[in-house]
């Protein structure tokens, strides 16, 4: 049974979605328990499958037992890299799901079943992208996650989210098509779609790996993924899509979609083409790091100009993507940049979840979307504010949050690789983040107007899985438990991922096949 876990990760949310589409439309209250149970099963199997990879090394799982003789077949591959990411995705999905127990308005209640179906299917797509060992299946799963995320953006009741979803769809489809085209060229040159097969062929056959077709394939794939992850010049779809979509969707999409795309980029560089091939092209590394520097600076500056909380966070994501892309391309001798980039995927998923949850709470229970309206919120919602502060400190990079350690590894990579512009951009961006968040702290703690009401009592009406009728009044008190639990859990995870960074980094570096002696020197 235990060796079937990689398949269970995918099947649990898939069958959950099927069950909801069968019964959830009639019995709305059944939706949440089914979704919750299936995601918990996925989380448990992700932990199981990951642990096996952490202890025993990478392994393959062939769906239906069809071991591939000709590069045809559906293979799942788990190693310590994607084991970590699978667990992170499952954790984020479970926490984001808890946040959605209460619909934000009565208008949304009719959409409950559809929302949960899309939510679970998106999880299937994300798990699949992470775990698959086949370049074409990767495309299909990218499209599964993309199509569901268009739906999740458009499901909101705001008037502008439909337009945002349409633009997102156009950009996303073009990105995926470029990826598909790149895979076509790769297949043309290597005759295989299995990631490991392609890697072996490229590593052993110089005629193939030096041909222009393979270079074309790499560039097409890279551009496609960059569109998907909103890398700086291609980021246009992101701010509208993530700030106009409903809070429940934003808490799932913002932490995961772009991060998983970064993972795909790392996977393509590491496992398909191989780092030696990628960095064997002089100038590429410098070029991409400069692009990343521009992305970091542009994202930070645009974030400064925003007045809405969610939009500010969206531009911060653009900057964070710059961190990760730049880190992955640093090409420093000990691969600290790549390590930091992957660690930052995990760290940023937690930070973004935490901040989007607070933004969601402020909007859902207080109707606040502008930074200026936050005055005095620390006194009114102390627990929510604790979560917000931890998330903000992680974004700035204060130890012992995970944000500090990821910047530490990235900067170390930048110094060892001699990419000083990247180091400078990281530091400037940290300063900008400090300005951004301390501005909010000032408004939220000291306030501008005299605070009305000092109602500190927390909302202790216990949330059961049955949803309460939507709140229309916004009393001056703490958010309900259904929102606080995921928020505080995310805040705790930020600290935990930070404190246990040594172990996590060791697992990451095992996948890069760097001897662990190098790792232990550093701790």
């Amino acid at each position: 049974m235990l060796e079937q876990l990689p398949a269970v990760i995918l099947l649990a949310p898939l069958f959950g979605a099927l069950l909801i589409s069968l019964f959830g439309l009639r019995e709305r209250r059944a939706c949440f328990p089914v979704a919750f149970a299936s995601l918990l099963i996925a989380l448990a199997s992700a932990i199981g499958a990951g642990t096996r990879a952490f202890t025993g090394g990478a392994y393959d799982y062939f769906i239906g037992g069809w071991e591939e003789p000709l590069g045809i077949g559906i293979v799942l591959r788990v190693d310590s890299l994607n084991g970590l990411l699978l667990i992170a995705i499952a954790v984020v999905a479970v926490l984001a799901l808890i946040f959605t127990i209460r619909p934000s308005s009565e208008k949304d209640e009719g959409k409950t079943a559809y929302f949960y179906i899309l939510f679970l299917l998106l999880c299937v797509g994300l798990f699949g992208i992470t775990i698959t060992g086949d370049a074409f299946n990767l495309f299909v799963l990218i499209e599964v996650s993309a199509l569901t995320s268009y739906g999740l953006v458009a499901i909101g009741s705001s008037r502008r989210c439909k337009m945002a979803a349409f633009h997102y769809l156009l950009m996303g489809t073009v990105g995926a098509s470029f990826y598909l085209l790149g895979v076509g060229y790769l297949y043309l040159k290597t005759g295989s779609l299995n990631i490991q097969d392609i890697n072996t062929i490229l590593a052993t056959n110089a005629v193939v790996s030096e041909s222009p077709g393979v270079t074309t394939a790499f560039i097409l794939i890279l551009v496609g993924i960059w569109i998907k992850m909103a890398f700086f010049p291609l980021y246009g779809w992101l701010p509208n899509a993530y700030s106009y979509c409903p809070s429940g969707s934003a808490c799932l999409l913002a932490p995961l979609m772009t991060k998983v795309s970064v993972y795909v980029m790392i996977r393509v560089m590491l496992s398909i083409f191989g780092l030696e091939w990628v960095f064997g092209h002089p100038g590429w590394s410098d070029l991409v790091v400069w692009l990343a520097v521009i992305a970091i600076l542009a994202g930070s500056i645009m974030a400064l100009a925003q007045r809405e909380i969610k939009r500010m966070l969206c531009y911060l994501i653009v900057a964070e993507i710059g961190y990760m892309v730049g880190g992955a391309w640093l090409n420093d001798p000990n691969l600290w940049g790549l390590t930091g980039a992957f660690y930052h995927i995990l760290a940023d998923a937690m930070m973004t979840l935490c901040l989007f949850l607070t933004a969601g709470i402020f909007f859902k229970y207080r109707g606040i979307s502008e930074i200026a309206d936050l005055d005095g919120i620390f006194k009114k919602m102390p627990l929510t504010s604790i979560g917000f502060v931890i998330g903000a400190l992680a974004m700035i990079g204060v130890p012992p949050t995970c944000g500090f350690f990821s910047k530490f590894y990235l900067i170390r990579g930048g110094i060892e690789g001699g990419q000083w512009e990247y180091v400078a951009a990281l530091l400037i961006s940290s300063l900008v983040n400090a300005v951004l968040f301390f501005r909010i702290f000032e408004i939220a703690y000291f306030g501008k107007k005299p605070a009305e009401g000092h109602d500190h009592e927390h909302n202790h009406e216990h949330e059961h899985e049955h949803e309460a009728p939507a709140q229309t009044v916004l009393p001056a008190r703490e958010a309900p438990l259904s929102a606080l639990i995921p928020l505080l859990a995310a805040a705790a995870l930020i600290l935990l991922v930070g404190i246990f960074n040594g172990q996590i980094v060791e697992l990451i570096r095992v996948a890069f096949e760097i001897p662990s002696t190098v790792v232990s020197n550093l701790r």
């Binding site: 000709l70 590069g71 045809i72 074409f136 495309f139 299909v140 499209e143 199509l147 268009y150 739906g151 458009a154 008037r159 502008r160 439909k162 337009m163 979803a165 349409f166 769809l169 156009l170 489809t173 073009v174 098509s177 598909l180 085209l181 076509g184 297949y187 043309l188 040159k189 290597t190 005759g191 295989s192 779609l193 097969d197 062929i201 056959n205 005629v207 193939v208």
Partner: protein, 167 residues
Amino acid sequence: MVEFFLNTVKPHFNFWVYVILMMVGLWSLIAKNNLIKKMMGLAIFQTAIILFYVSLGVKDGATIPVLEHYGDYAEKAEPAGPDASKPASKPASKPAPNPASMPAPAASNPADAFANPVPHVLMLTAIVVGVATLGVALALCEMIFKEFDTLEEDELLRKIKALHDDA
């Protein structure tokens, strides 16, 4: 001009067409004002990629990849002789374990009897994905039209801006 056409375009005709189609799609995606036209551009873009993949699997003188048809090929291959390895069938890499070490395709290689089915099968999936995407896009267009009463992008942007100013 004619030289160029005969030497460069003709042997890779499919690939020229796919690039041109792709650019047509991309152009209408970017330049058109109407959302439906943008969507059509997207469809053309995706179709171009399908054409590319289908061209990958094609070989000169090959038959459908079903074993019973092997006889058809064997008869034809005799008179055709070395013609079977013309440059037009360049993308003839069969998903063999290590295709690069394969000898130049000769009539004796039984794999040459069949068109490569893998890219064609992949495209079945890609077509389904494309249909789903267009379905979602159409649904979104309908919602946008109900909301704003127009599908022209400039008008939409104006109305959305007005919305923002009101708020």
